[in-house]
């Protein structure tokens, strides 16, 4: 099976700035893929090149086997993109906007039931005749998502769809994306909410300064670092000198230690504390999450 997206040694410079420095990877059909990275990493630039909105300085990209430059029509027909910016056309109402967008992709009246279905799923039905300019930011975001899907693309890329969105709407969007994925769509998500990526994405690429820093199934990525976090609150004596180097965070009288799972069993640490005269009041352990790994991989 050909990949949904194939990215081959893509480079992009804006003047002296190298936004992408030779990025290569494939996204397989049916994946729920996370594209992560700090601000300015080059995520949106990569997405814009996939969408044919900007040209790469070198390298090539295909979507469902169609080169985005030489076979741009077929590539665009296979792809839906939700842009990062909250853009809209103030001239139209919600439903007309969606019907127009379907028309651009060659879809006529036969796409109208699907449009209504999406309006329902995104809880926009009551706004179908409302002018785009009268919608709140969250509603505009939902219309953008529906717009990306009017032509039922095989591959969907969402560039920070949940940025600045309230909790309730975020849940609606998660439900919607899951449903889309369950129906066989390949989904590519960029987000700054790492719990979101951890929960939704089966595979993750971490991009930093235009380079891929990690590309792994989410589970592998999480196991990549043999760390474990131990949070303690105790009294009686100060933290033993030997444990000082492992302090990861300190707050409200509790201390978080970052321990190596292989060489520092929790039992040994507790024994050490007991020996030094500390009385442990409370204890809590935590496995590393995506955020810890992200920080590890992208620190300067």
């Amino acid at each position: 099976m050909q990949p949904a997206i194939r990215i081959a040694d893509v480079r992009k410079s804006f003047g002296a700035l190298h936004a992408l420095n030779g990025v290569s990877f494939d996204i397989q059909q049916g994946e729920f893929f996370g594209l992560l990275g700090p601000n300015g990493a080059g995520k949106s630039t990569l997405i814009n090149i996939i969408a044919g909105l900007i040209q790469p300085s070198s390298g090539s990209i295909s979507v469902m086997g169609h080169d985005v430059i030489s076979h741009w029509r077929a590539a665009r027909q296979s792809l839906g993109v939700v842009p990062q910016e909250l853009v809209f056309d103030p001239f139209f109402n919600v439903r007309d906007m969606l019907r127009l967008q379907a028309g651009y992709f060659g879809c006529g009246k036969e796409s109208w039931p699907w449009i209504d279905e999406m309006l329902d799923a995104l809880e926009l039905s009551s706004k179908r005749s409302t002018s785009m300019r009268a919608l709140s930011g969250g509603m505009k975001r939902r219309v953008l998502i529906a717009q990306a899907l009017v032509h039922k693309p095989k591959v969907v890329i969402l560039d920070e769809p949940t940025a600045g969105v309230d909790v309730e709407l975020r849940r609606t969007l998660w439900g919607f994306m899951r449903r889309l994925h369950a129906q066989g769509t390949t989904v590519v998500l960029t987000t700054h909410y790492l719990e979101e990526a951890q929960e939704m994405c089966s595979r993750i690429a971490i991009l930093d300064q235009g380079e891929v820093k990690a590309l792994e199934p989410t589970r592998t990525l999480l196991q990549r670092h043999p760390f474990r976090f131990l949070t303690l609150s105790f009294s009686g004596a100060p933290l033993p000198e030997g444990l000082r180097p492992f302090v990861h965070a300190e707050a409200d009288g509790s201390i978080e230690l970052k321990l190596d799972r292989r060489t520092q069993p929790v039992a040994a640490v507790l024994e050490q504390l007991r020996v030094e005269g500390c009385v442990v009041n409370d204890i809590h352990t935590r496995e590393p999450d995506l955020e810890d790994i992200f920080v590890e991989l992208t620190k300067k």
Binding site: G52, L53, R73, V81, V87, F88, G103, Y104
Partner: protein, 257 residues
């Protein structure tokens, strides 16, 4: 790959561009018609005593085709340039750019919609002046060809300027410093042969002059320049403008860098 590979997408874009001006007909057709009528009233009154420029053509009648073509020039340019700059400023040009719509489809949709607006404007002006003036429509074919070439040239020019411009001010500056003066100074209100020799000669290098003069020929069967000359100028101007606009769209000028 076919340049017209997405006919339904093209049609949608064309109708969308038409809806942009049909939704505000008062502004896009009504206002220019009223402005032109005011010119007609004022100038026809002020010049009423003068000898006719052409045999058997009253000054008011002489004025009408020039005013129509001037209005067509201004509206063709305004339609494409304002649509593009609005979409650029709002950022919603991306919706079309994400779709499988190519440069030729894009160009024809935008220019086609501008032509429809110009047909409405010209038709409305003819309709309102019809009760007062007998216009002969001596050469309807030439009349229509000059109209279509002139409107295409200016609509394509609007695409070029819309692509180059970054904000509304840039379009306004171009309109105020090029389109309006050149369309005024091209024999709308007078025959250029009545001008001092220098200005008469200069007029013959202004493409707008040939649009207005050619259109007037279509109406009366007589004009300052030979009709073939007017047709050649208009065709060349339309071809150059369309060529540049298409090239810019195909290269993704300033849009795909």
């Amino acid at each position: 790959m076919s340049v017209f590979g997405n006919p339904y997408g093209f049609r949608t874009l064309f109708f969308k561009e038409c809806r942009r001006f049909t939704a505000v007909l008062g502004q896009t057709v009504g206002a220019p018609v009223i402005t032109a009528l005011l010119y007609l009233l004022v100038f026809a009154q002020a010049m009423s005593g003068r000898t006719p420029v052409y045999e058997g053509v009253s000054y008011s009648a002489f004025l009408v085709p020039g005013l129509i073509m001037m209005t067509v020039i201004q509206n063709a340019f305004a339609n494409t340039s304002s649509s593009l700059i609005q979409s650029k400023v709002m950022g919603n040009l991306v919706f079309v750019r994400l779709a499988p719509i190519g440069a030729v489809e894009w160009f024809v949709a935008y220019v086609g919609a501008a032509l429809v607006r110009c047909l409405l404007v010209a038709g409305a002006m003819l309709a309102v002046t019809a009760p007062f003036l007998q216009l002969p429509f001596a050469r309807p074919l030439e009349l229509f060809v000059i109209f279509a070439l002139g409107a295409t040239a200016l609509a394509a020019g609007g695409v070029i300027v819309g692509l180059i411009s970054q904000k509304f001010d840039h379009i306004a500056a171009f309109t105020n410093f090029f389109i309006t003066p050149l369309s005024f100074l091209s024999g709308v209100f007078y025959s250029v042969s009545a001008l001092p020799p220098f200005w008469a000669t200069a007029s013959h290098f202004n493409p707008f002059f040939y649009m207005i003069d050619g259109f007037r020929y279509g109406m009366f069967g007589q004009a300052d320049a030979p009709i073939l000359m007017s047709l050649a100028w208009c065709a060349a101007f339309a071809a150059v403008m369309s060529g540049i606009a298409l090239k810019m769209l195909a290269d993704g000028y300033s849009l795909r860098k």
